[in-house]
Protein backbone atom coordinates (compact mmCIF):
# COMPACT_ATOMS: atom_id res chain seq x y z
CA UNK A 1 0.00 0.00 0.00
CA UNK A 2 1.29 3.41 -0.92
CA UNK A 3 2.16 5.63 2.01
CA UNK A 4 -0.21 8.49 2.79
CA UNK A 5 0.96 11.73 1.18
CA UNK A 6 -1.00 13.94 3.57
CA UNK A 7 -3.87 13.92 6.03
CA UNK A 8 -6.21 16.45 7.59
CA UNK A 9 -5.69 17.75 11.13
CA UNK A 10 -8.78 19.09 12.96
CA UNK A 11 -9.23 22.88 12.84
CA UNK A 12 -12.58 24.57 13.36
CA UNK A 13 -12.38 27.56 11.07
CA UNK A 14 -9.72 26.66 8.51
CA UNK A 15 -7.87 23.73 6.99
CA UNK A 16 -4.77 22.22 8.51
CA UNK A 17 -2.97 19.47 6.61
CA UNK A 18 -0.14 17.26 7.80
CA UNK A 19 2.08 16.52 4.84
CA UNK A 20 4.59 13.64 4.80
CA UNK A 21 7.70 12.83 2.79
CA UNK A 22 10.60 10.38 2.77
CA UNK A 23 12.90 13.32 2.10
CA UNK A 24 12.67 17.08 1.63
CA UNK A 25 11.97 16.83 -2.09
CA UNK A 26 9.10 14.42 -1.54
CA UNK A 27 7.77 16.64 1.24
CA UNK A 28 7.61 19.60 -1.17
CA UNK A 29 6.06 17.46 -3.90
CA UNK A 30 3.45 16.07 -1.50
CA UNK A 31 2.71 19.59 -0.22
CA UNK A 32 1.92 20.69 -3.77
CA UNK A 33 -0.23 17.58 -4.25
CA UNK A 34 -2.10 18.26 -1.00
CA UNK A 35 -2.85 21.86 -2.04
CA UNK A 36 -4.30 20.91 -5.43
CA UNK A 37 -6.01 17.75 -4.15
CA UNK A 38 -7.98 19.93 -1.70
CA UNK A 39 -8.96 22.42 -4.39
CA UNK A 40 -9.78 20.13 -7.33
CA UNK A 41 -10.56 16.46 -7.96
CA UNK A 42 -7.26 15.56 -9.63
CA UNK A 43 -8.58 12.37 -11.26
CA UNK A 44 -10.01 14.53 -14.03
CA UNK A 45 -6.85 16.55 -14.60
CA UNK A 46 -4.70 15.50 -17.56
CA UNK A 47 -1.04 15.95 -18.48
CA UNK A 48 -1.31 18.79 -20.97
CA UNK A 49 1.67 20.97 -20.12
CA UNK A 50 4.67 21.16 -17.82
CA UNK A 51 5.53 24.45 -16.11
CA UNK A 52 8.81 25.21 -14.45
CA UNK A 53 8.10 26.89 -11.12
CA UNK A 54 10.61 28.37 -8.74
CA UNK A 55 10.42 29.89 -5.27
CA UNK A 56 12.84 31.22 -2.71
CA UNK A 57 12.88 31.77 1.05
CA UNK A 58 15.03 32.53 4.06
CA UNK A 59 14.92 28.90 5.22
CA UNK A 60 13.37 25.59 4.18
CA UNK A 61 10.00 26.31 5.81
CA UNK A 62 9.70 29.75 4.24
CA UNK A 63 10.72 28.32 0.86
CA UNK A 64 7.97 25.70 1.19
CA UNK A 65 5.28 28.27 2.07
CA UNK A 66 6.45 30.59 -0.72
CA UNK A 67 6.41 27.67 -3.18
CA UNK A 68 2.85 26.68 -2.24
CA UNK A 69 1.77 30.34 -2.34
CA UNK A 70 3.18 30.61 -5.86
CA UNK A 71 1.22 27.50 -6.91
CA UNK A 72 -1.97 28.91 -5.39
CA UNK A 73 -1.42 32.17 -7.25
CA UNK A 74 -0.97 30.27 -10.54
CA UNK A 75 -4.28 28.53 -9.94
CA UNK A 76 -6.21 31.62 -8.94
CA UNK A 77 -4.70 34.11 -11.37
CA UNK A 78 -3.85 31.89 -14.34
CA UNK A 79 -6.17 28.92 -13.89
CA UNK A 80 -3.30 26.39 -13.88
CA UNK A 81 -4.09 23.17 -12.06
CA UNK A 82 -1.22 20.74 -11.45
CA UNK A 83 -1.71 17.03 -10.94
CA UNK A 84 1.90 16.45 -9.92
CA UNK A 85 4.92 18.60 -9.12
CA UNK A 86 8.33 16.99 -9.45
CA UNK A 87 11.06 18.72 -7.48
CA UNK A 88 14.13 19.12 -9.70
CA UNK A 89 16.32 21.11 -7.32
CA UNK A 90 16.02 21.95 -3.68
CA UNK A 91 18.18 23.84 -1.21
CA UNK A 92 16.99 25.52 2.01
CA UNK A 93 16.69 28.85 0.17
CA UNK A 94 15.40 27.80 -3.24
CA UNK A 95 13.22 25.27 -5.03
CA UNK A 96 12.88 24.51 -8.74
CA UNK A 97 10.02 22.31 -9.74
CA UNK A 98 8.41 20.87 -12.87
CA UNK A 99 4.64 20.85 -12.53
CA UNK A 100 2.36 18.83 -14.80
CA UNK A 101 -1.26 19.69 -15.38
CA UNK A 102 -3.73 21.60 -17.49
CA UNK A 103 -5.95 24.66 -17.56
CA UNK A 104 -8.77 24.60 -14.98
CA UNK A 105 -12.13 24.31 -16.67
CA UNK A 106 -15.12 24.59 -14.30
CA UNK A 107 -17.28 22.78 -16.84
CA UNK A 108 -15.06 19.71 -16.89
CA UNK A 109 -13.19 19.73 -13.58
CA UNK A 110 -14.73 19.12 -10.21
CA UNK A 111 -13.70 21.89 -7.81
CA UNK A 112 -13.63 21.09 -4.10
CA UNK A 113 -12.56 23.89 -1.81
CA UNK A 114 -11.46 27.48 -2.31
CA UNK A 115 -8.20 28.36 -0.57
CA UNK A 116 -7.37 31.99 0.14
CA UNK A 117 -3.80 31.66 1.35
CA UNK A 118 -1.06 29.40 2.63
CA UNK A 119 -0.13 30.74 6.07
CA UNK A 120 3.08 30.79 8.08
CA UNK A 121 1.12 29.65 11.13
CA UNK A 122 3.32 27.38 13.28
CA UNK A 123 5.04 25.88 10.25
CA UNK A 124 7.87 23.57 11.27
CA UNK A 125 9.33 20.61 9.40
CA UNK A 126 9.95 17.71 11.77
CA UNK A 127 11.48 14.25 11.44
CA UNK A 128 9.89 11.17 12.99
CA UNK A 129 11.96 8.06 12.38
CA UNK A 130 12.66 8.00 8.66
CA UNK A 131 9.87 10.31 7.61
CA UNK A 132 9.56 14.06 7.46
CA UNK A 133 6.33 15.88 8.13
CA UNK A 134 5.01 19.42 8.30
CA UNK A 135 1.65 20.85 9.35
CA UNK A 136 0.44 23.58 7.01
CA UNK A 137 -2.52 25.84 7.74
CA UNK A 138 -4.56 27.16 4.85
CA UNK A 139 -6.90 30.11 5.18
CA UNK A 140 -10.19 29.18 3.51
Amino acid sequence: MAKKRYEEVEHTADIRLKVYGADEKELFSNGAFALFDRMVDLDGVHDVFTDEIEAEGGDLEETLINFLSELLWRFDARRRVYRECRIAELSPGRVRSLCIGEEFDPARHHARQGIKAVTFHDVKITRTGKRLSVVITFDV
Binding site: W73, T119, D139
Partner: protein, 480 residues
Protein backbone atom coordinates in the same frame (compact mmCIF):
# COMPACT_ATOMS: atom_id res chain seq x y z
CA UNK B 1 -6.69 25.64 27.16
CA UNK B 2 -6.17 29.30 27.87
CA UNK B 3 -3.87 30.06 30.73
CA UNK B 4 -5.76 33.20 31.69
CA UNK B 5 -8.06 33.78 34.66
CA UNK B 6 -11.09 35.56 33.25
CA UNK B 7 -12.72 38.09 35.58
CA UNK B 8 -16.45 38.39 35.17
CA UNK B 9 -17.49 42.07 35.07
CA UNK B 10 -21.24 41.54 34.55
CA UNK B 11 -23.59 39.10 32.75
CA UNK B 12 -22.08 39.92 29.33
CA UNK B 13 -18.50 41.06 29.93
CA UNK B 14 -15.31 39.20 30.92
CA UNK B 15 -11.96 40.82 31.47
CA UNK B 16 -8.54 39.34 30.80
CA UNK B 17 -6.45 41.21 33.40
CA UNK B 18 -3.12 42.66 32.27
CA UNK B 19 -0.20 40.28 32.69
CA UNK B 20 3.23 39.92 31.09
CA UNK B 21 3.62 42.02 27.97
CA UNK B 22 -0.02 43.12 27.77
CA UNK B 23 -0.29 46.91 27.48
CA UNK B 24 -4.06 46.91 28.10
CA UNK B 25 -6.50 44.31 29.46
CA UNK B 26 -8.68 42.17 27.21
CA UNK B 27 -12.48 42.46 27.15
CA UNK B 28 -14.63 39.58 25.92
CA UNK B 29 -18.38 39.89 25.35
CA UNK B 30 -20.11 36.57 26.05
CA UNK B 31 -22.69 34.80 28.16
CA UNK B 32 -21.99 31.62 30.14
CA UNK B 33 -22.57 29.24 27.25
CA UNK B 34 -20.47 31.22 24.76
CA UNK B 35 -17.57 31.77 27.16
CA UNK B 36 -17.24 28.02 27.66
CA UNK B 37 -17.07 27.60 23.85
CA UNK B 38 -14.50 30.39 23.62
CA UNK B 39 -12.36 28.71 26.27
CA UNK B 40 -12.14 25.54 24.17
CA UNK B 41 -9.54 26.94 21.80
CA UNK B 42 -6.66 29.41 22.05
CA UNK B 43 -8.62 32.48 21.06
CA UNK B 44 -8.34 34.00 24.56
CA UNK B 45 -4.54 33.79 24.22
CA UNK B 46 -4.86 35.57 20.89
CA UNK B 47 -6.90 38.38 22.49
CA UNK B 48 -4.14 38.71 25.11
CA UNK B 49 -1.43 38.70 22.42
CA UNK B 50 -3.10 41.57 20.56
CA UNK B 51 -3.12 43.50 23.86
CA UNK B 52 0.71 43.44 23.64
CA UNK B 53 0.86 45.49 20.44
CA UNK B 54 2.32 49.01 20.64
CA UNK B 55 -0.19 51.85 20.85
CA UNK B 56 -3.29 49.77 21.58
CA UNK B 57 -5.96 51.84 23.34
CA UNK B 58 -8.20 50.84 26.24
CA UNK B 59 -8.80 47.14 25.57
CA UNK B 60 -8.14 44.28 23.18
CA UNK B 61 -11.80 43.47 22.44
CA UNK B 62 -13.41 40.16 21.54
CA UNK B 63 -16.96 39.81 20.27
CA UNK B 64 -19.15 36.83 21.30
CA UNK B 65 -18.57 35.12 17.93
CA UNK B 66 -14.82 35.05 18.50
CA UNK B 67 -12.84 32.06 17.27
CA UNK B 68 -9.27 31.12 16.50
CA UNK B 69 -7.59 33.06 13.69
CA UNK B 70 -3.95 33.74 12.80
CA UNK B 71 -2.35 36.19 15.18
CA UNK B 72 -5.57 38.08 15.74
CA UNK B 73 -8.64 36.02 16.57
CA UNK B 74 -11.67 36.34 14.29
CA UNK B 75 -14.11 38.59 16.14
CA UNK B 76 -11.39 40.89 17.46
CA UNK B 77 -11.25 44.68 17.62
CA UNK B 78 -8.11 46.71 18.31
CA UNK B 79 -7.94 50.52 18.29
CA UNK B 80 -4.54 52.14 17.93
CA UNK B 81 -3.07 55.52 18.80
CA UNK B 82 -1.88 57.18 15.59
CA UNK B 83 1.48 58.30 17.00
CA UNK B 84 2.53 55.22 18.91
CA UNK B 85 0.38 52.51 17.35
CA UNK B 86 0.86 49.88 14.65
CA UNK B 87 -1.18 48.61 11.73
CA UNK B 88 -1.23 44.87 11.04
CA UNK B 89 -2.50 42.93 8.00
CA UNK B 90 -3.34 40.12 10.43
CA UNK B 91 -5.75 42.50 12.18
CA UNK B 92 -7.81 42.69 9.01
CA UNK B 93 -7.38 39.18 7.62
CA UNK B 94 -7.00 37.66 4.17
CA UNK B 95 -10.47 38.52 2.94
CA UNK B 96 -10.19 42.30 3.11
CA UNK B 97 -13.65 43.92 3.37
CA UNK B 98 -15.46 40.66 3.46
CA UNK B 99 -18.87 42.09 4.24
CA UNK B 100 -22.58 41.95 3.69
CA UNK B 101 -25.28 44.06 2.12
CA UNK B 102 -29.01 43.91 2.61
CA UNK B 103 -31.43 44.77 -0.19
CA UNK B 104 -35.11 45.26 0.57
CA UNK B 105 -37.93 44.73 -1.91
CA UNK B 106 -41.65 45.49 -2.09
CA UNK B 107 -42.41 41.78 -2.42
CA UNK B 108 -44.43 39.96 0.20
CA UNK B 109 -43.09 36.46 0.90
CA UNK B 110 -46.52 34.80 1.00
CA UNK B 111 -47.32 36.12 -2.47
CA UNK B 112 -44.15 34.83 -4.13
CA UNK B 113 -43.49 31.63 -2.19
CA UNK B 114 -44.29 29.46 -5.23
CA UNK B 115 -41.75 31.40 -7.24
CA UNK B 116 -38.83 31.23 -4.82
CA UNK B 117 -37.33 28.17 -6.50
CA UNK B 118 -37.42 29.80 -9.94
CA UNK B 119 -36.05 33.06 -8.52
CA UNK B 120 -33.19 31.23 -6.77
CA UNK B 121 -32.35 29.29 -9.95
CA UNK B 122 -32.32 32.49 -11.98
CA UNK B 123 -30.06 34.18 -9.42
CA UNK B 124 -27.71 31.18 -9.47
CA UNK B 125 -27.48 31.35 -13.25
CA UNK B 126 -26.75 35.09 -13.15
CA UNK B 127 -24.11 35.09 -10.38
CA UNK B 128 -20.67 33.58 -10.94
CA UNK B 129 -19.96 31.46 -7.84
CA UNK B 130 -17.52 28.85 -6.60
CA UNK B 131 -13.85 28.00 -6.80
CA UNK B 132 -12.27 29.69 -9.80
CA UNK B 133 -15.40 31.68 -10.65
CA UNK B 134 -14.66 34.48 -13.08
CA UNK B 135 -15.88 36.58 -15.94
CA UNK B 136 -18.65 38.61 -14.25
CA UNK B 137 -17.44 41.76 -15.98
CA UNK B 138 -16.48 41.19 -19.59
CA UNK B 139 -13.25 42.60 -20.98
CA UNK B 140 -12.11 44.17 -17.74
CA UNK B 141 -8.74 45.70 -18.55
CA UNK B 142 -5.90 46.70 -16.28
CA UNK B 143 -6.95 50.35 -16.40
CA UNK B 144 -10.55 49.49 -15.40
CA UNK B 145 -9.28 47.41 -12.53
CA UNK B 146 -7.12 50.30 -11.34
CA UNK B 147 -10.18 52.56 -11.41
CA UNK B 148 -12.20 50.01 -9.41
CA UNK B 149 -9.43 49.96 -6.78
CA UNK B 150 -9.50 53.73 -6.47
CA UNK B 151 -13.24 54.37 -6.85
CA UNK B 152 -14.86 51.27 -5.35
CA UNK B 153 -18.61 50.88 -5.77
CA UNK B 154 -18.70 54.24 -7.56
CA UNK B 155 -17.14 52.46 -10.56
CA UNK B 156 -20.18 50.19 -10.81
CA UNK B 157 -22.59 53.12 -10.44
CA UNK B 158 -20.74 55.01 -13.18
CA UNK B 159 -21.20 51.94 -15.37
CA UNK B 160 -24.96 51.83 -14.87
CA UNK B 161 -24.87 49.19 -12.14
CA UNK B 162 -26.57 51.07 -9.30
CA UNK B 163 -27.49 54.53 -8.07
CA UNK B 164 -26.16 57.38 -5.95
CA UNK B 165 -28.57 56.20 -3.26
CA UNK B 166 -26.74 52.84 -3.18
CA UNK B 167 -23.53 54.71 -2.38
CA UNK B 168 -25.26 56.73 0.37
CA UNK B 169 -26.25 53.42 1.95
CA UNK B 170 -22.78 51.85 1.88
CA UNK B 171 -20.18 52.20 4.63
CA UNK B 172 -17.61 54.80 3.42
CA UNK B 173 -19.98 55.36 0.45
CA UNK B 174 -18.33 52.26 -1.04
CA UNK B 175 -15.12 54.12 -1.71
CA UNK B 176 -12.46 54.43 0.92
CA UNK B 177 -10.27 57.47 1.17
CA UNK B 178 -6.55 56.82 0.87
CA UNK B 179 -6.86 53.90 -1.55
CA UNK B 180 -3.89 53.73 -3.90
CA UNK B 181 -3.81 51.17 -6.71
CA UNK B 182 -0.05 51.58 -7.07
CA UNK B 183 0.37 50.03 -3.60
CA UNK B 184 -1.28 46.84 -4.94
CA UNK B 185 1.20 44.43 -6.57
CA UNK B 186 0.82 43.37 -10.22
CA UNK B 187 0.36 39.82 -8.93
CA UNK B 188 -2.60 40.86 -6.79
CA UNK B 189 -4.04 42.83 -9.73
CA UNK B 190 -3.72 39.79 -12.00
CA UNK B 191 -5.28 37.49 -9.40
CA UNK B 192 -8.27 39.81 -9.07
CA UNK B 193 -8.93 40.87 -12.64
CA UNK B 194 -11.18 38.00 -13.69
CA UNK B 195 -12.83 37.79 -10.27
CA UNK B 196 -14.44 41.25 -10.15
CA UNK B 197 -18.16 40.85 -9.52
CA UNK B 198 -17.97 37.18 -8.49
CA UNK B 199 -19.27 35.73 -5.23
CA UNK B 200 -16.51 33.20 -4.56
CA UNK B 201 -16.79 30.12 -2.36
CA UNK B 202 -16.67 29.02 1.28
CA UNK B 203 -19.03 30.90 3.57
CA UNK B 204 -20.00 33.46 0.94
CA UNK B 205 -23.60 33.46 -0.21
CA UNK B 206 -26.50 35.26 -1.77
CA UNK B 207 -29.79 34.70 0.04
CA UNK B 208 -33.43 35.58 -0.45
CA UNK B 209 -34.86 35.92 3.03
CA UNK B 210 -38.16 36.75 4.69
CA UNK B 211 -38.46 39.27 7.49
CA UNK B 212 -39.83 36.89 10.12
CA UNK B 213 -39.96 39.19 13.11
CA UNK B 214 -39.60 42.89 13.86
CA UNK B 215 -38.25 43.86 17.31
CA UNK B 216 -37.96 47.62 16.87
CA UNK B 217 -40.77 49.24 14.87
CA UNK B 218 -39.14 52.65 14.61
CA UNK B 219 -35.82 51.44 13.32
CA UNK B 220 -37.47 48.88 11.02
CA UNK B 221 -39.57 51.67 9.50
CA UNK B 222 -36.48 53.82 8.94
CA UNK B 223 -34.71 50.84 7.33
CA UNK B 224 -37.77 50.16 5.12
CA UNK B 225 -38.38 46.72 6.65
CA UNK B 226 -41.70 45.08 7.50
CA UNK B 227 -42.80 41.65 8.64
CA UNK B 228 -43.36 39.18 5.79
CA UNK B 229 -41.18 41.17 3.36
CA UNK B 230 -38.75 39.56 0.90
CA UNK B 231 -35.19 40.85 1.28
CA UNK B 232 -31.85 39.79 -0.21
CA UNK B 233 -28.48 39.43 1.53
CA UNK B 234 -25.17 39.38 -0.35
CA UNK B 235 -22.10 38.18 1.56
CA UNK B 236 -18.72 38.29 -0.16
CA UNK B 237 -15.36 40.05 -0.14
CA UNK B 238 -12.38 41.10 -2.22
CA UNK B 239 -11.69 37.63 -3.66
CA UNK B 240 -8.16 36.71 -4.75
CA UNK B 241 -7.11 40.35 -4.99
CA UNK B 242 -7.61 40.94 -1.27
CA UNK B 243 -6.06 37.60 -0.33
CA UNK B 244 -2.97 38.47 -2.33
CA UNK B 245 -2.72 41.98 -0.82
CA UNK B 246 -2.74 40.42 2.66
CA UNK B 247 -0.23 37.75 1.65
CA UNK B 248 2.08 40.34 0.01
CA UNK B 249 2.01 42.67 3.02
CA UNK B 250 2.58 39.92 5.60
CA UNK B 251 5.86 39.43 3.73
CA UNK B 252 6.54 43.18 4.03
CA UNK B 253 5.57 43.33 7.71
CA UNK B 254 7.67 40.37 8.89
CA UNK B 255 10.97 42.22 8.33
CA UNK B 256 9.33 45.58 9.16
CA UNK B 257 8.40 44.37 12.65
CA UNK B 258 12.04 43.53 13.19
CA UNK B 259 13.21 46.83 11.71
CA UNK B 260 10.99 48.88 14.04
CA UNK B 261 11.79 46.70 17.06
CA UNK B 262 8.22 45.53 17.59
CA UNK B 263 8.24 42.64 20.01
CA UNK B 264 5.78 40.05 18.68
CA UNK B 265 4.29 37.28 20.82
CA UNK B 266 3.18 35.63 17.52
CA UNK B 267 4.68 36.07 14.02
CA UNK B 268 1.25 36.50 12.46
CA UNK B 269 0.82 39.75 14.40
CA UNK B 270 3.55 41.27 12.22
CA UNK B 271 2.97 44.97 11.86
CA UNK B 272 4.53 48.40 11.32
CA UNK B 273 3.95 51.83 12.85
CA UNK B 274 0.88 53.49 11.34
CA UNK B 275 2.96 56.47 10.20
CA UNK B 276 5.86 54.39 8.77
CA UNK B 277 6.22 53.98 4.99
CA UNK B 278 5.32 50.26 5.30
CA UNK B 279 2.27 51.05 7.43
CA UNK B 280 1.02 53.75 5.07
CA UNK B 281 1.53 51.57 2.03
CA UNK B 282 -0.35 48.65 3.56
CA UNK B 283 -3.25 50.94 4.45
CA UNK B 284 -3.35 52.30 0.87
CA UNK B 285 -3.36 48.76 -0.58
CA UNK B 286 -5.91 47.50 1.96
CA UNK B 287 -8.22 50.43 1.17
CA UNK B 288 -7.90 49.61 -2.55
CA UNK B 289 -8.82 45.98 -1.86
CA UNK B 290 -11.75 47.18 0.27
CA UNK B 291 -12.94 49.22 -2.70
CA UNK B 292 -12.65 46.15 -4.93
CA UNK B 293 -14.96 44.31 -2.50
CA UNK B 294 -17.53 47.13 -2.39
CA UNK B 295 -17.58 47.17 -6.16
CA UNK B 296 -18.11 43.38 -6.15
CA UNK B 297 -21.15 43.61 -3.91
CA UNK B 298 -22.51 46.53 -5.94
CA UNK B 299 -22.13 44.62 -9.23
CA UNK B 300 -23.64 41.44 -7.77
CA UNK B 301 -26.58 43.39 -6.36
CA UNK B 302 -27.30 45.22 -9.64
CA UNK B 303 -27.22 41.95 -11.60
CA UNK B 304 -29.36 40.18 -9.02
CA UNK B 305 -32.00 42.92 -8.99
CA UNK B 306 -32.23 42.84 -12.80
CA UNK B 307 -32.48 39.04 -12.66
CA UNK B 308 -35.37 39.17 -10.20
CA UNK B 309 -37.24 41.66 -12.41
CA UNK B 310 -36.88 39.31 -15.39
CA UNK B 311 -37.64 36.19 -13.41
CA UNK B 312 -40.89 37.66 -12.07
CA UNK B 313 -41.62 39.71 -15.21
CA UNK B 314 -42.19 42.82 -13.15
CA UNK B 315 -41.01 46.42 -13.43
CA UNK B 316 -38.20 47.86 -11.28
CA UNK B 317 -40.89 49.89 -9.51
CA UNK B 318 -42.96 46.81 -8.70
CA UNK B 319 -39.91 44.97 -7.36
CA UNK B 320 -38.94 48.04 -5.36
CA UNK B 321 -35.37 46.86 -4.69
CA UNK B 322 -33.41 49.36 -2.59
CA UNK B 323 -30.17 48.97 -0.68
CA UNK B 324 -30.74 49.10 3.10
CA UNK B 325 -27.04 49.14 3.95
CA UNK B 326 -23.65 47.55 3.23
CA UNK B 327 -21.15 46.84 6.02
CA UNK B 328 -17.54 45.67 6.13
CA UNK B 329 -16.61 42.85 8.51
CA UNK B 330 -12.82 42.79 7.93
CA UNK B 331 -11.20 46.19 7.74
CA UNK B 332 -8.91 48.80 9.31
CA UNK B 333 -10.11 52.40 9.42
CA UNK B 334 -9.29 55.86 10.63
CA UNK B 335 -12.18 57.02 12.81
CA UNK B 336 -12.80 59.69 15.41
CA UNK B 337 -13.72 58.45 18.87
CA UNK B 338 -13.62 59.80 22.39
CA UNK B 339 -10.42 58.72 24.11
CA UNK B 340 -9.79 59.95 27.69
CA UNK B 341 -12.65 62.43 27.31
CA UNK B 342 -11.30 63.97 24.11
CA UNK B 343 -12.33 63.36 20.52
CA UNK B 344 -9.32 61.76 18.90
CA UNK B 345 -8.58 60.19 15.54
CA UNK B 346 -7.52 56.56 15.92
CA UNK B 347 -6.92 53.56 13.69
CA UNK B 348 -9.29 50.71 14.38
CA UNK B 349 -8.83 47.10 13.24
CA UNK B 350 -12.06 45.15 12.93
CA UNK B 351 -11.44 41.52 12.05
CA UNK B 352 -14.76 39.73 12.02
CA UNK B 353 -16.54 42.68 13.59
CA UNK B 354 -19.04 45.27 12.37
CA UNK B 355 -19.03 49.02 12.76
CA UNK B 356 -22.09 50.04 14.79
CA UNK B 357 -22.41 53.84 14.74
CA UNK B 358 -25.07 55.20 17.07
CA UNK B 359 -27.65 57.93 16.29
CA UNK B 360 -26.37 61.35 15.28
CA UNK B 361 -22.99 60.10 14.24
CA UNK B 362 -21.35 61.91 11.28
CA UNK B 363 -20.68 59.50 8.44
CA UNK B 364 -24.21 58.12 8.50
CA UNK B 365 -26.62 59.00 5.70
CA UNK B 366 -29.37 61.46 6.60
CA UNK B 367 -32.02 58.72 6.65
CA UNK B 368 -30.26 56.85 9.48
CA UNK B 369 -29.09 59.86 11.50
CA UNK B 370 -31.93 59.52 13.99
CA UNK B 371 -31.91 55.74 14.34
CA UNK B 372 -28.24 54.79 14.14
CA UNK B 373 -26.47 52.59 11.61
CA UNK B 374 -28.01 49.37 10.30
CA UNK B 375 -25.82 46.46 11.45
CA UNK B 376 -26.08 43.28 9.39
CA UNK B 377 -25.30 39.95 11.09
CA UNK B 378 -25.73 36.92 8.84
CA UNK B 379 -26.29 33.47 10.31
CA UNK B 380 -26.23 30.01 8.78
CA UNK B 381 -28.35 28.95 5.81
CA UNK B 382 -30.89 26.97 7.81
CA UNK B 383 -31.80 29.21 10.71
CA UNK B 384 -31.69 32.99 10.70
CA UNK B 385 -29.86 36.28 10.28
CA UNK B 386 -30.32 39.57 12.13
CA UNK B 387 -30.60 43.23 11.36
CA UNK B 388 -29.51 45.32 14.33
CA UNK B 389 -28.83 49.01 14.93
CA UNK B 390 -25.84 50.75 16.47
CA UNK B 391 -26.34 52.62 19.76
CA UNK B 392 -24.73 55.58 21.48
CA UNK B 393 -23.39 53.12 24.06
CA UNK B 394 -21.41 51.40 21.30
CA UNK B 395 -18.67 53.97 21.97
CA UNK B 396 -17.58 51.49 24.65
CA UNK B 397 -16.13 49.32 21.86
CA UNK B 398 -15.25 52.21 19.52
CA UNK B 399 -18.55 51.51 17.77
CA UNK B 400 -17.91 47.83 17.06
CA UNK B 401 -20.10 44.77 17.41
CA UNK B 402 -20.31 41.11 16.39
CA UNK B 403 -20.41 39.91 12.75
CA UNK B 404 -21.88 36.41 12.52
CA UNK B 405 -22.34 32.96 13.90
CA UNK B 406 -18.85 31.46 13.95
CA UNK B 407 -18.18 27.80 13.24
CA UNK B 408 -18.53 25.09 15.88
CA UNK B 409 -17.63 22.16 13.61
CA UNK B 410 -14.56 21.96 11.41
CA UNK B 411 -15.28 21.42 7.72
CA UNK B 412 -14.02 17.88 8.11
CA UNK B 413 -16.35 17.21 11.06
CA UNK B 414 -19.28 18.79 9.19
CA UNK B 415 -18.73 16.54 6.17
CA UNK B 416 -18.54 13.51 8.46
CA UNK B 417 -21.79 14.55 10.14
CA UNK B 418 -23.49 15.07 6.79
CA UNK B 419 -22.48 11.63 5.48
CA UNK B 420 -25.48 9.59 4.41
CA UNK B 421 -27.72 12.64 4.63
CA UNK B 422 -29.02 14.90 1.91
CA UNK B 423 -28.68 18.39 3.38
CA UNK B 424 -30.25 20.05 0.35
CA UNK B 425 -33.33 17.84 0.70
CA UNK B 426 -33.50 18.38 4.46
CA UNK B 427 -33.51 22.13 3.93
CA UNK B 428 -36.04 21.81 1.08
CA UNK B 429 -38.39 20.01 3.47
CA UNK B 430 -38.20 23.10 5.65
CA UNK B 431 -39.03 25.29 2.68
CA UNK B 432 -35.48 26.50 1.96
CA UNK B 433 -34.16 26.21 -1.60
CA UNK B 434 -30.37 25.79 -1.69
CA UNK B 435 -28.31 25.77 -4.87
CA UNK B 436 -24.55 25.37 -4.66
CA UNK B 437 -21.72 25.40 -7.16
CA UNK B 438 -20.13 22.43 -5.43
CA UNK B 439 -22.06 19.85 -3.46
CA UNK B 440 -19.29 19.56 -0.87
CA UNK B 441 -19.88 23.20 0.11
CA UNK B 442 -23.41 22.45 1.33
CA UNK B 443 -22.20 19.78 3.75
CA UNK B 444 -19.37 21.98 5.03
CA UNK B 445 -21.72 24.91 5.47
CA UNK B 446 -24.64 23.00 6.95
CA UNK B 447 -26.51 24.80 9.74
CA UNK B 448 -25.15 22.50 12.48
CA UNK B 449 -21.60 23.59 11.60
CA UNK B 450 -22.37 27.02 13.06
CA UNK B 451 -23.37 28.49 16.40
CA UNK B 452 -26.89 29.90 16.47
CA UNK B 453 -26.34 33.55 15.58
CA UNK B 454 -29.26 34.46 17.87
CA UNK B 455 -27.04 33.69 20.90
CA UNK B 456 -24.33 35.99 19.61
CA UNK B 457 -26.68 38.85 18.72
CA UNK B 458 -28.40 38.57 22.10
CA UNK B 459 -25.16 39.25 23.98
CA UNK B 460 -24.48 42.50 22.10
CA UNK B 461 -28.14 43.50 22.46
CA UNK B 462 -28.12 42.93 26.21
CA UNK B 463 -24.73 44.63 26.55
CA UNK B 464 -26.32 47.66 24.87
CA UNK B 465 -23.87 47.88 21.95
CA UNK B 466 -26.21 46.94 19.07
CA UNK B 467 -29.97 46.45 19.43
CA UNK B 468 -32.05 43.90 17.53
CA UNK B 469 -34.29 45.35 14.81
CA UNK B 470 -35.44 42.38 12.76
CA UNK B 471 -34.93 38.67 12.26
CA UNK B 472 -34.59 37.22 8.77
CA UNK B 473 -35.16 33.59 7.78
CA UNK B 474 -33.80 32.00 4.61
CA UNK B 475 -36.01 31.12 1.62
CA UNK B 476 -33.55 30.71 -1.26
CA UNK B 477 -29.77 30.37 -0.86
CA UNK B 478 -26.95 30.40 -3.37
CA UNK B 479 -23.59 29.06 -2.22
CA UNK B 480 -20.21 28.86 -3.96
Amino acid sequence: MAGFELVRLDDWRWEIPRTGGMRVPGLIFADDALISDINKDDSVDQVANVACLPGIIKYSYAMPDIHLGYGFAIGGVAAMDLDTGVISPGGVGYDINCGVRLVRTSLVADEVKDKIEAMTKALFAATPVGVGSSGAIKRLGQEDERRILERGARWAVEHGLGTEEDLDCTEERGSMEGADASAVSPRAMERGRDQAGTLGSGNHFLELSRVAEVFDDNAARAFGLFEGQVVMQIHCGSRGLGHQVCDDYIRVMLPASHKYGIDLPDKQLCSAPIRSSEGKRYFAAMAAAANFAWNNRQVIMARAVETLEHSLSISPKALGARLVYDVAHNIAKFEKHVVDGRETEILIHRKGATRAFGPGRPGLPERYRATGQPVLIPGDMGRQSFVCVGTQASEETFASTCHGAGRVLSRHAAIAKARGRNIIRELAQRGIVVIAGEKGTVAEEMPEAYKDVAEVVKVMHEAGISRKVARLVPMGVIKG
